[in-house]
Symmetry: C2
Subunit: 342 residues, 2 copies
Amino acid sequence: MANVTIKDVASYAGVSKATVSRVLNNHAYVADDVRTRVQQAVDTLGYHPSRAARRLRANSSDILGLIIPDIENPLFQSLVRGVEDTAYAQQMNVVLCNTDDIPDKQKVYLRLMQAEQAAGVIVVPTHPDDRAVLEPVREAGMPIILLDREVANFEVDTVKVDNVHGAYVATRHLILLGYKRIAVIAGTQNLTPGHERLRGCYHALKDMGVAIDESLVKIGNFKIESGYDLTHELMKAAHPPDAIFVSNNLMTLGALRALHELSVRIPEDVALVGFDDMPWAGDLNPPLTAVAQPGYEMGQQAVQLLLRRLAQPDASFCKIMLQSRLIVRQSCGAHLRGHNSP
Amino acid sequence: MANVTIKDVASYAGVSKATVSRVLNNHAYVADDVRTRVQQAVDTLGYHPSRAARRLRANSSDILGLIIPDIENPLFQSLVRGVEDTAYAQQMNVVLCNTDDIPDKQKVYLRLMQAEQAAGVIVVPTHPDDRAVLEPVREAGMPIILLDREVANFEVDTVKVDNVHGAYVATRHLILLGYKRIAVIAGTQNLTPGHERLRGCYHALKDMGVAIDESLVKIGNFKIESGYDLTHELMKAAHPPDAIFVSNNLMTLGALRALHELSVRIPEDVALVGFDDMPWAGDLNPPLTAVAQPGYEMGQQAVQLLLRRLAQPDASFCKIMLQSRLIVRQSCGAHLRGHNSP
DNA sequence: TTGAAAGCGCTAACAA
DNA sequence: TTGTTAGCGCTTTCAA
């Protein structure tokens, strides 16, 4: 009933607490018969060491903090699974925190992880200026891995996706398909993915010799409503676009909804390519052409980076850049206009 | 740099550790000037109490374990947010665990929660026979709240949805719209939602005087492939259905994919109604008619139940049953056949 | 190869 | 109103 402690095991097995501890932690210099006797005691008593006590002793835990904006975003879902599966295989436990991109929440969670003596944290930072909050945490001895987004003036292990290239490929794809008025719904510009994706767009337009019409560039905030509103703006204009590149999944969903409401045919009237794939992107109306980010691998890599940092606290900082890839379905009109795929 | 402890604060403020502790925990009988002096010391030193130590002392924590099958399922996403938001407001911290419906994983996580001295766990159990794993945990003093599914012979606080009624309404909706050959893709039958939803179907068919064609009843396992495969089976048969009720979101996605592959028009050739709504259900092709479960509220209620149990450990067990509601979009064909909605 | 003892940071009697 | 002290469960010297 009451909790079984190491003391109970010790007296049951007729040895000292120290010996039980040694058995538990696989120390050398324990007689075989003693070892088995202790094991039996542990089993019959159903003993499990108190993590609180261990943590107090060791001043660290096997907890891995994972701080993300929002679990309802499909990208972060696969990312979380990548982190969890990898951590689980290493006997680490993941504590998931949603910041909703609110810096204060992020601060609270970072503090929590410190207080919990987490082994380290993997963070998708809320803001490029987050250095002020992150640096003290690292100074206090907790390894930090940044994921998906970067923070200004903050050298740190990072896993990200080549946003510029992804957006470049998507935009070029639209150009090659012959669209003339390509609009872009960009994301929050002071988030790395936001401006990198816009830059990728611009690069492609320039490289392919397409003049940039600034009235076709809208800056959103990565949320559904934003995609919805900006699409309305775009389509209500005197010269609406014939194709739209949307910078993330949520805004793409908003764009889709707006276009349906306006009874605009996709891709006949307007073609659509989104950044971020979703498991059900092929079931949307129409099946969505999208730049797929390797969310699961991003999670995996982040954990690997953390383990490396834990093993070698003084190793130099490392940035891992993963590739995205374009998945051509129907919203871009490739099936109508032929395959000029990149 | 090094961790600031209560001792540091005490000596900085020129008082004893006990006094610092009293200030920290808002005890009465602390002189005002002492209180402020300690507060200042805390602030300037940037002190945060060690949770490990507190936990060791108190033999319990403010951690709430949330054990679900899979975060990639939209239902569990809103559920998680409901739990997190509610717990957060109560200063509790949520540790999320995905079992993938694998009993062994569930066992590991339950053990982890015990070792972490969680205040309680909210569990979506993997199996109706899970009593053997769950009961010992509760016996050991940890409150358990069951969510979404029930466990045989295990009296416990539970939050669930009225699956029978939800399926009933969905099926009746199809009957009222005039469909004659209504198929059902059911879920795992030894999971409560699985057989309850099938029962709801049967009830509706019987009540409305529709003969049951057993060849139109398929038992799946709640996963995408299952919905996909069974839809293929259904449509390849000599007498395919003119409507399908699918028992959860993932299988509905599979069904949708299969129907598209077969170039079956929805709802003209086959109507479709799914259990579980999804944020983007309206963007699917066609917009999906679905039974919406109140995932967020389920999460909220589960936390409330846990708090109640924590406050009154001996209160009698309580079962909360939430209603689902039918959201009529286009996949059921209501817009073509007129509004015979329930 | 084993045991005794100290101490991790905190809180709660008990005393003053 | 405050300080002293013991102890939560564990690991790790140090000594035997």
